[in-house]
């Protein structure tokens, strides 16, 4: 027995004659018993309420009804097995199965076993790793219009605030079936990292919503791409604005019979997984991100591609977002503990990795290239990504530069540099980055320096500076736009031949890279370079900063 009341009877008649399907009738009668929706309800039973007297009432009922309605009632069947049979219940006298005027077939043929199988097949095809899934539904905007059309007509719906939404009813019906098809995987209602979304579209959506553009033009923004201007949000907004009377003038109530039902599309999406670590860069011709100009690649590979490739394939992700705490130029090496980085992996098909597996993945990355090395690779939370950029300003950086001088020098000539402490520079935006940065003067501090004489025209300069200091410009002066600069200090033209950076220990290690298991850096994971690593490795190709 369906939980319907006597008072619902006249409404049920109206709804059915308007072209509503059985489940939509239940929705408008505010039936909140989930089980009632699961099996296709019988129209005939709908007219049997608790206090409905079968025979006499039936006679008086049929005498009032128009002839085609009677024919409909009499052809109803008692045992509903499938959607096809259920559809037969609402056959018109022409013999065509009618698409529901409100749900456009979503609660008719599109939420049965066939659909559940379709969904489960899409899930299996994706070969995802998951414990639970959440089902989400997206409906065409015109469903709101049609829903309003039923409600705005007086006397058709009693309690419009208690009307069950199409989405809810759909989920009540489908969740159990999908669980069954997937062999018992829990389909949860609220939150799950794995989302299966069913999107319904209908060709007449724009036509149905068209009148809203004329009556509430300010709700609809013109879109640049080919997408429809009738987005769900815009349509809902317009429907809230439009007064009932105006609505009735422009849109038929009840709505017109649609010619087809909706088409569903299933898509799976796993929530992003975040991976973080530190990287060293040993090559002087490797950009951080792919270097492409006018579609042409200018330099082979990049730090992010070398790190991402093995990770992407291990996690079977669709894409990634790479973020690091600062970055270095193409021709600068990153030594020491390495620069912290974090990656967001988009739609990972595999998301569970043990510590051992992460270690293995780190090893794979390190074996794949001698240009970079990764350490402390671990799975972190989303917060780690945003914290990557934090504290960049507070860090101290250590650099080693190979300096050339025009005038010949001796050891004594450069020893005074070792005594300079906390030198404040005024750096105008370097010309080499001025095309993409604002013109400004930046004050930056060089905390200390130390020199290592090489020969009469070369020496190594170690610097400890505030984050954001342009070292190259300090050495060559950048047309005198960085003051003071090394040329002025040494009273000769100077130039920088090579540069290495070591990111400061501080901050990053403990807080940024989360959280549960801080894997301490192992000394064996990097080839030993030592503090003055630069001396041993001058780039064979003579790359110049």
């Amino acid at each position: 027995m369906l939980p319907l009341k006597e008072k619902d009877k006249p409404i049920i008649q109206k709804l059915l004659s308007a072209g509503c399907c059985a489940r939509c009738v239940l929705r408008f009668c505010c039936v909140s018993v989930q089980a009632a929706y699961r099996k296709q309800p019988e129209v005939r039973l709908m007219l049997q309420t608790d206090d409905y007297k079968s025979k006499d009432a039936a006679e008086s009922e049929t005498s009032e009804d128009p002839p085609n309605k009677r024919a409909k009632l009499e052809t109803s069947i008692t045992d509903v097995q499938s959607e096809e049979e259920a559809a037969a219940v609402v056959k018109s006298k022409d013999g065509d199965s009618r698409v529901c005027v409100v749900c456009l077939g979503i609660l008719q043929g599109l939420c049965g076993t066939t659909q559940a199988i379709k969904v489960s097949e899409a899930v299996k095809a994706g070969n995802y790793e998951f414990d639970t899934l959440v089902l989400s539904v997206s409906l065409p905007a015109q469903l709101c219009v049609r829903e309003v059309s039923m409600v705005v007509e007086k006397g058709l719906v009693l309690d419009k605030d208690d009307v069950i939404q199409v989405k809810e009813a759909f989920k009540w019906i489908m969740q159990g079936m999908v669980t069954k098809e997937l062999g018992g995987i829990a389909v949860v209602t609220k939150v799950s990292p794995f989302e299966v979304s069913v999107e319904f579209t209908h060709p007449e959506t724009d036509a149905d919503c068209h009148f809203l553009a004329a009556t509430c033009p300010d709700c609809f923004k013109p879109t640049k791409n080919k997408q429809s201007v009738f987005t769900r949000m815009a349509v809902v907004k317009a429907l809230e604005k439009i007064p009932d009377a105006k609505f009735l003038k422009h849109y038929p109530c009840p709505p017109t019979q649609p010619t087809s039902s909706c088409s569903p599309q299933v898509q799976c999406l796993h929530v992003s997984v975040f991976v973080a670590g530190r990287y060293n860069k040993f090559c002087r011709s490797l950009p951080q991100t792919p270097w492409v100009i006018d579609g042409e690649r200018r330099m082979e590979s990049s730090v992010e591609e070398l790190i991402a490739a093995p990770i992407l394939s291990a996690f079977r992700a669709d894409g990634f977002n790479f973020s690091s705490s600062g970055r270095e130029d193409v021709d600068v090496r990153t030594l020491g503990n390495g620069r912290p980085f974090a990656m967001e992996l988009l739609n990972p098909h595999k998301s569970r990795f043990s510590k051992e597996q992460m270690k293995q993945l780190q090893e794979t990355i390190n074996q794949s290239s001698d240009k970079i090395k990764v350490r402390d690779l671990q799975i972190v939370t989303r917060e780690a990504m945003s914290r990557m950029k934090e504290g960049e300003e507070e860090k101290t950086k250590s650099y080693t530069a190979l300096v050339w001088t025009q005038k010949p020098i001796q050891r004594e000539d450069i020893s005074f540099i070792d005594d300079i402490k906390d030198l404040t520079l005024d750096q105008k935006t370097p010309l080499r980055v001025l095309h993409r940065r604002a013109l400004a003067v930046r004050q930056r501090a060089i905390h200390s320096m130390s020199t290592r004489f090489l020969d009469s025209h070369h020496f190594y300069l170690r610097l400890k500076t505030q984050a954001g200091t342009y070292i190259k410009e300090f050495v060559h002066g950048d047309f005198g736009r960085t003051i003071p600069n090394l040329c002025q200090l040494l009273k000769t033209d100077t130039d920088i031949l090579e540069l290495d950076v070591e990111v400061g220990e501080s901050h990053i290690c403990k807080t940024n890279i989360q959280k549960s298991k801080h894997i301490p850096p192992t000394s064996d994971s990097l080839p030993h370079r030592g503090r003055s690593g630069a001396e041993q490795d001058q780039c064979p190709q003579g790359c110049r900063p």
């Binding site: 001025l434 940065r437 013109l439 090489l454 060559h476 002066g477 005198g480």
Partner: protein, 182 residues
């Protein structure tokens, strides 16, 4: 071992300008003999306007009396202010827009021109305080101005300019033709 290598590299080592900039020239600017300008174009399309080695200001031991960025009653290049990444507010210059006027102690006056179309980003204020920079280091610390051409025009602006070889040709033709005016 190392010193020998480095001696050689020093001799051949390209300077910052050689590594990142292309030298372009405009000779006899506005028809005035030998008033040659050198435009240093960075690979990122930013241009630095400088005096070419052959410019009269740099000849005959001249010294500079004054440099004036006020090129007309209503316009001073010192008031040029750009803001933001897109450098809004910078004065837009055409080829013959004056950048500054330089007066030497021997009362000769010269106007330095933009030479290219683009947005003025900055003028060198250091030479106001230390005019000697212009005489000693005309190609680096003595630069005149920095201009950013429009993205679409970054290649076409060099169509009206001479490359180094062509410029040197013109210069050598001068000295063989007649003695240079002082």
């Amino acid at each position: 071992m190392e010193s020998v290598e480095h001696e050689d590299t020093k001799a051949n080592a390209p300077s910052v300008i050689d590594r990142y900039y292309t030298r372009w020239y405009r000779a006899d600017m506005k028809g005035k003999p030998c008033e040659d300008h050198c435009i240093l174009q960075h690979s990122n399309r930013i241009c630095v306007i400088t005096l070419a080695e052959t410019h009269p200001i740099l000849q005959n031991g001249r010294t500079i009396k004054s440099i004036n960025y006020q090129i007309s009653n209503g316009c001073s290049r010192l008031e040029n202010k750009v803001s933001g990444k897109s450098k809004r507010g910078g004065q837009f210059l055409t080829d013959f827009a004056p950048l500054c006027r330089i007066t030497c102690t021997d009362e000769t006056e010269y106007t330095i021109y933009s030479c290219i179309r683009g947005r003025l980003l900055e003028v060198n204020e250091n030479i106001l305080e230390t005019p000697n920079l212009l005489l000693e280091k005309p190609s680096t610390e003595g630069y005149i101005a920095v201009i950013l051409p429009k993205f679409e025009e970054s290649k076409s602006i060099t169509e009206n300019l001479l490359n180094r070889d062509k410029f040197e040709n013109i210069v050598s033709k001068r000295s063989s033709a007649q003695s240079q005016p002082s």
